[in-house]
Structure formats: structure tokens, C-alpha cells
């Protein structure tokens, strides 16, 4: 089965290492030097007020945003944005290598509407990674079963509910056999009654030992699932720790944020 993450490489190093990552959009400095590490097999929750840069951090990990400075490493692939290679080919290759270490789940699923569920899952493995359709399909069926969508292989995304679509999105990310799964507010676009089924699937992933990076507003969920919590504010990591941070925050900003969120929830 392919539903388990890749093995430990016997290294004492963290699986993910981010150092000094900075990014500005025009005049607006969004990230001001982000540093953190994440261990293999752990779930990291990124929290923070809107505009704090948590989504930008996530998108820097697979270079959907190109940082202006800093380094990003996932397993054996790293890119130093302070000195990107001049050669375009080489630069492309480095970024592609880093990108191939992760799979991404989007806030609004971004499934390919013109392809069936099975085709959505197989697109990357077959078209990009060059695996055989038979092998990829066998894996895809296993993944669909895991996210509770066995039998919906031939449906088009438009024929599924929002929660089902997001679970296909998760399966599509897993189908790439990534070393890290990046989840960008995976439940924010869902109707409240559909949130539970998606969170359930993500919890399962964490228990199976997938390395997860999750941007979320669901504080309770983060407390349940996360091994590590990063609280972002003003483009820096304001507080970092275990899930207990969420019950007993040390910094004022974190306290304010949590009290607001919990009061609203």
C-alpha cells in the first residue's frame, strides 16, 4: 500500500528546515525572516491572524511564492533563495526538486473539473512521475478507500459535495507519494456541516505518520492533531511550541488572538 509515508532515512536532521525566509509583495513586507524546523512524521499547525503570512510560508515550501531571501529544505532537496543559480535550467531543476518533495491541498480544492476523480489522482503519478496507469490506479483506489470515497472513481468533481471534493484533493496530494503534505486552510471554504469529515481524514493521516504542515483557523483541531504549533504574527514566528501553547500561550499577541478566536467559536 502507498498510504504510509516514506521511511525514516536514519538522519538526525529535521525533515523540514526553513531559515531566514523573507518575502515582500510590492511595498508590503509579508514575511520578515521565518525560521523553523519540523520533524518527520509530525503535524505542524500554522496559526495566526489574517495577513500574518501563514499561507505565504506554506506556499514558499513548494515555491508557489518565490521567497526574496532565505533557504528552504525538505529532506534532501534544498533551495537557497539568497543565491539562486544564474542558469535558468539549473534554477528550474532545483525548484522542481524541492517541489516534488511535497503535495498540496488547497483551500478551494482546485480539482481539475474536466477530469474524473481517478484521472485527478493519476494525473501527477502517470503524466509527471512516469508510473504505469495500472500501478497508479491501484494506488489511487487504495487512497480513495482511505478517504472514504471508494466507488466514486468515475465521478466528475462537479458531481461531488464540497467535503467529498476536498477529500479527493487530499487523495490527489497523497497520490504523489510526497514526503510532506501541505494543507492550506483545508476546511475554510466548506459548509460547517462538512468540516468534520475532512478534519477526520486529516487526523487519520497524522496518526498514520504522514508529515503534515497545516494552515488552519480551527484551534481545537490544531490542539488535537498538531505535534508542533507555529503562531505567526507580522511576518515572523511569534511563538513556537507543542500543542500546549494553545492552552497556555506565553506571548500577548498569541493570547489576544486565541481569546478572540475562542470567543467567536
Amino acid at each position: 500500500m502507498t498510504t504510509t509515508p516514506t521511511d525514516h532515512r536514519g538522519s538526525s536532521q529535521s525533515l523540514i528546515e526553513v531559515a531566514g525566509v523573507a518575502k515582500a509583495f510590492g511595498d508590503q513586507q509579508v514575511l520578515n525572516g521565518i525560521d523553523f524546523t519540523a520533524e518527520e512524521g509530525t503535524a505542524t499547525a500554522l496559526l495566526g491572524p489574517s495577513g500574518s503570512g501563514k499561507t505565504t510560508v506554506l506556499r514558499s515550501l513548494n515555491v508557489l511564492e518565490t521567497p526574496d531571501a532565505g533557504t528552504v529544505r525538505i529532506a534532501d532537496a534544498s533551495v537557497d533563495f539568497n543565491s539562486l543559480p544564474q542558469d535558468k535550467q539549473l534554477r528550474r531543476r532545483e525548484i522542481a526538486a524541492l517541489r516534488s518533495r511535497s503535495g498540496m491541498v488547497f483551500q478551494s480544492h482546485n480539482l481539475f473539473p474536466h477530469k474524473t476523480v481517478l484521472e485527478n489522482l493519476n494525473e501527477g503519478p502517470v503524466q509527471v512521475q512516469g508510473r504505469t496507469p495500472e500501478e497508479a490506479t491501484a494506488d489511487a483506489r487504495g487512497l480513495l478507500e482511505q478517504v472514504g470515497l471508494a466507488g466514486r472513481e468515475d465521478a466528475y468533481p462537479a458531481q461531488l459535495s464540497g467535503g467529498q471534493q476536498q477529500r479527493v484533493g487530499i487523495a490527489r496530494a497523497l497520490a504523489l507519494k510526497p514526503q510532506v503534505v501541505l494543507l492550506d486552510e483545508p476546511t475554510s471554504a466548506l459548509d460547517p456541516e462538512l468540516v468534520g469529515e475532512v478534519l477526520g481524514v486529516i487526523k487519520d493521516l497524522a496518526q498514520q505518520g504522514w508529515t503534515l504542515m497545516i494552515v488552519t483557523h480551527e484551534v481545537r483541531f490544531a490542539r488535537d492533531v498538531a505535534d508542533q504549533v507555529l503562531f505567526l504574527d507580522g511576518g515572523v514566528v511569534a511563538e513556537r511550541g507543542g500543542p500546549e501553547v494553545l492552552s497556555d500561550p506565553q506571548h500577548d499577541r498569541t493570547k489576544q488572538f486565541l481569546s478572540r478566536i475562542l470567543a467567536a467559536g
Partner: protein
């Protein structure tokens, strides 16, 4: 991790992709684009250099091929005989007799009169056989043979018009003339305003409808019209001056040998009576000598309306099948390739791609198709780029479709949510692959309705190809209308053909949309 060799996951091949700055939109990779842009250009280049015949080339038998420019819509001199669908008439038979005498092989090229001299200049034809009247302006530019027709100008008005009987009466009046004919000059010199028409039959129609006051034309053409139509609506009211006008074959200044051969041949034909026999056949008089006496014409086309429509239905269908439809299909396919390349170049981050694409789209959308056709067909030969009719029409129409469709394709690509491109990127797809497999299939669905409009326009725009001498549907209708003067039924019939084709296309569009709807969000 510098130094350590990459340890790829099992079964994973290295993945290369464009470091796109997604916030700025989807930016095409340059190398891929260059290929895409070159492809249609090469295609057009092949078209442009394909079977362009050299002027007066020799064919396999060593016979000289001489291309004759003629209207085919000016009975009884040059027209398509409704009974045989063959080009015939006094001028046609004269030039055929000349060819036999001189040992030429003839190739007829039909063209509106106003396009004939440009065609001669552009070396698309070698001689004009179309009752070309010799005058000083033309003699300065072209070589003429000795005359083979002597005629005189007459003034024609509607039956109930009074008081226009001499050239002096034309002052301040409006006449209908072929713009570049000598009769237009005669009318202008008399102080008349000139409305430009294609051929005498059209002029006569304007006169009958009361849109112009008079026509100045050759007496023979007018007599033929009256005999053919039996029309009581127009009449000859007087002579347009007392000068006898002389008509002859016209050649380029650079072709004196050809002209001399024609002169020798005409001389022989005059001596052996052939010329006068041809004239007798058409006019019951000898118009090849200065004083022909009384003319008596039977009329070149005396068919009834149902006959005309019935006998034209087939040539029009042929024009549709061999002209309109292939032209549409080829131009649409080539145009789509150009459009895709232009759309992607227009979105490129590289100004060397983006700016030319912008310029191209702007020029195509900002100039009339007719002007574009004229530039390709009549303009380019003046800088040495001679393109035959059919390829010229294909080039102009394809470039036109390409310019319009480029904007449709561009906006369709931009209307695919950016997340689709991001999703493709995160599963490792490089730019070209994302376009091909993810973005374009979705853009295609959005583009179907507007591109169908482009296709429908193109079907109708192919009718403009008749002005660059492509024998398509409308051209056949024009030829038949000119000889029979049955405008309304013939043009309605032509419209019907176009409508049926367009209707079929919109049926296909509905089916296609239905198929693409199945994954609609």
C-alpha cells in the same frame, strides 16, 4: 543540501518546471513559445511560395502560356454563357483567335474591371481582353495592339427621364460607371458625379432604381443589355460626344514582344476575315472597322428567372464546395494555430514576444479585412512577393481570424482559475504540460461560443475572396447576375446557401457545447 547526491523516491523521475511568479499570472516559457509561433509562420510561408506561376511561363509542350484578364460580366464582350457555363463573348473569341495565330496557350483570369489593371501591373495576368478603350493616360502606362473594336459612347437614362441627351446635360448629375473605365473619365469631364459600380448591369440596375441619373457607356454594351433584358425601363438618349472610341488588347510596357505577336495575329485575322466573322456572329455588323453601320443584337442572355436560378444553382453549389468550404476550413485551422501562438506570446513576460503579438492583434483588429486582402494580393507583388489568388486569400483570412481569435483564446485562458495552474504546478507539471493537459481543455470550453462566432463570420467573410479572384459561391452568383440581370433571385439564393451552412455550423456548436457541459462546475 549541497554535496549530497539527490536520493529520489522510488519510481520518481526528476521533475523540471518553470519558476513562475504566479502572482503575475501565467507566464509562458520562451522556448516553447518560439516553436509555437514559428509553426504557423512556416505554414504560411509554404503557402506563399507554392505554385506561383511565373509570368508567361511555357507549359510542357513548349507553348507559351498567356494569362488573360477579363471581367466575364460584360456581355456580349466577355461573359459566361448560361447554356454552357463557358466564358465566351466577342473579346474572348478575338483573343482566342489571336492565341491560335500566335501559338499561345490561354489561361483566363476573371476579375472585376477595377482590379484588372492592378492585376496586370502585379504580373498576375499578361493581357487584358475587356473592351479596353485606348486613351492617352493608358497609353502612357501600357502597350496596346491595333484596335479590334470601334464604338462610340452613348448616354443612357431611365425611360421617364427627360432633358439628358448630350454630355453638356450631365453637368451636376450623377452617373454610374466603372471607376477606372474611360467612360467614367468622359462623365467626369462633362461635370458629372461618378458612382462606382462593377460592370454595366449593376449600373443599369442603379439607373432603373433611380439612384443615379445617367450612364455613359459603349453603344454595343447598351444595345446588348436592351436586347437581353427586353427592358423598357432605360433608353439611349444621345451620343456621348462624336468621337469614335477604339478598343484593343492591353499589355505591360515590359512585354513588347507579346504585343507585337498579338498585332501580327490581329493583322492576319483582319485580312482573312476572321475578325469580321466573329463580329457578325455577335452584332450582325462589323464593329472591327471604323464604320460599322446599324447594329442588331439578339441579346446574350434571354432566360426567364426560374431558368436562371435553376441553371445557377449548380455553379453556386460548386463554388460553395470547392471555394467557400475549403477556404473556411483551411483558414480556420491555420487561424487557430496563429491565434494560440499570438495569445500565449501576448501573455509572455518577454517583451520581444509580447510586443509583436500586441502589435499584430491591434493591426488585424484595427483594419478592414478587405484592405488586408488587397495588401496581400495587390500590394505585396509590388515588393516582389507574388502570391496566387487562393493562397493569398488563405493568408489574409487566416491572419485575420488569428488576430480576432487570439484575444478570445487569451481571455479564455485567463478565465481559467489561477488555482488550476497552481494545482498543476504542485503535481510537478512544467508550463507546457500544464497548458496542454489542464488549462487549454478548460479554456476551450469557455472559448467555444465566441470561437463559433468567429467561424460563422469567417464563412461569410470568404465571400470577400471573390475580389482577389477566388471562384467561390458569391463570385458564381455575381457572374450569373451580371449576364442575366436577375439580381434579387440570385442573391437570395446565394444568401440561402450561406445561411444553410451557418445553420449547420451552429447545430454542431450546440452539440459540442453539450458534450463539454458534462463536467461543468
Amino acid at each position: 543540501m549541497p554535496g549530497s547526491s539527490p536520493a529520489p523516491s522510488p519510481g520518481r523521475s526528476p521533475i523540471y518546471s518553470e519558476p513562475v511568479e504566479l502572482r503575475k499570472g501565467r507566464r509562458p516559457s520562451t522556448r516553447w513559445l518560439v516553436v509555437l509561433i514559428l509553426a504557423p509562420l512556416v505554414l504560411l510561408g509554404v503557402l506563399a511560395t507554392s505554385p506561383a506561376q511565373a509570368a508567361s511561363a511555357a507549359d510542357g509542350d513548349g507553348q507559351r502560356v498567356v494569362r488573360v484578364g477579363t471581367e466575364g460580366t460584360y456581355p456580349p464582350f466577355t461573359y459566361v454563357d448560361p447554356r454552357t457555363s463557358q466564358l465566351t463573348g466577342y473579346d474572348i473569341e478575338v483573343v482566342e483567335a489571336v492565341a491560335q495565330e500566335a501559338g499561345w496557350k490561354l489561361k483566363f483570369v476573371q476579375s472585376p474591371f477595377d482590379a484588372i489593371f492592378p492585376a496586370l501591373d502585379a504580373k498576375r495576368i499578361d493581357v487584358v481582353a475587356n473592351q479596353v478603350t485606348i486613351n492617352p493616360e493608358r497609353e502612357a502606362r501600357y502597350l496596346f495592339t491595333k484596335p479590334y473594336t470601334y464604338s462610340h459612347g452613348v448616354i443612357v437614362t431611365a425611360a421617364d427621364t427627360k432633358g439628358i441627351t448630350t454630355l453638356a446635360d450631365l453637368k451636376g448629375r450623377t452617373t454610374a460607371q466603372s471607376e477606372t473605365s474611360n467612360w467614367a473619365q468622359v462623365a467626369r469631364d462633362a461635370g458629372a458625379k461618378v458612382r462606382s459600380v462593377e460592370g454595366f448591369a449593376q449600373a443599369a440596375e442603379l439607373l432603373v432604381q433611380g439612384r443615379v441619373d445617367a450612364i455613359v457607356n459603349d453603344n454595343i454594351a447598351v444595345l446588348d443589355y436592351l436586347a437581353s433584358t427586353g427592358s423598357k425601363d432605360i433608353k439611349i438618349t444621345g451620343e456621348a460626344g462624336d468621337e469614335v472610341s477604339k478598343q484593343a488588347l492591353a499589355f505591360r510596357k515590359s512585354d513588347p514582344a507579346l504585343r507585337d505577336e498579338a498585332n501580327d495575329a490581329l493583322e492576319k485575322l483582319r485580312d482573312d476575315g476572321t475578325l469580321s466573322n466573329i463580329s457578325e456572329k455577335y452584332f450582325k455588323a462589323d464593329v472591327s472597322v471604323p464604320d460599322s453601320g446599324e447594329l442588331e443584337l439578339e441579346g446574350s442572355d434571354t432566360r426567364s428567372t426560374p431558368e436562371v436560378v435553376r441553371e445557377t444553382a449548380w455553379p453556386m453549389l460548386r463554388g460553395l464546395v470547392v471555394g467557400t468550404i475549403p477556404l473556411t476550413v483551411i483558414c480556420f485551422v491555420v487561424g487557430m494555430l496563429i491565434a494560440l501562438a499570438a495569445a500565449l506570446a501576448r501573455m509572455s513576460a518577454n517583451p520581444l514576444l509580447r510586443n509583436p503579438a500586441r502589435f499584430y492583434i491591434s493591426v488585424i483588429r484595427g483594419t478592414p479585412l478587405l484592405v488586408q486582402l488587397f495588401i496581400v494580393f495587390y500590394g505585396l507583388p509590388q515588393i516582389g512577393l507574388k502570391i496566387p489568388s487562393y493562397p493569398a486569400a488563405i493568408i489574409a483570412l487566416s491572419l485575420n481570424v488569428g488576430g480576432y481569435a487570439a484575444e478570445i483564446i487569451r481571455s479564455s485562458i485567463l478565465s481559467v482559475p489561477r488555482g488550476q495552474f497552481e494545482a498543476a504546478t504542485t503535481i510537478g507539471m512544467p508550463y507546457a504540460q500544464s497548458m496542454r493537459r489542464i488549462i487549454l481543455p478548460q479554456a476551450a470550453r469557455i472559448a467555444v461560443p465566441p470561437l463559433s462566432n468567429t467561424l460563422l463570420s469567417l464563412i461569410k467573410d470568404t465571400s470577400l475572396a471573390s475580389v482577389v479572384l477566388v471562384p467561390e459561391l458569391l463570385h458564381e452568383a455575381q457572374v450569373a447576375a451580371a449576364s442575366s440581370q436577375q439580381y434579387l433571385p440570385l442573391y437570395i439564393f446565394a444568401a440561402l446557401y450561406y445561411w444553410v451552412v451557418c445553420w449547420l455550423v451552429s447545430l454542431a456548436q450546440n452539440r459540442l457545447e453539450g458534450r463539454l457541459e458534462r463536467f461543468a462546475v
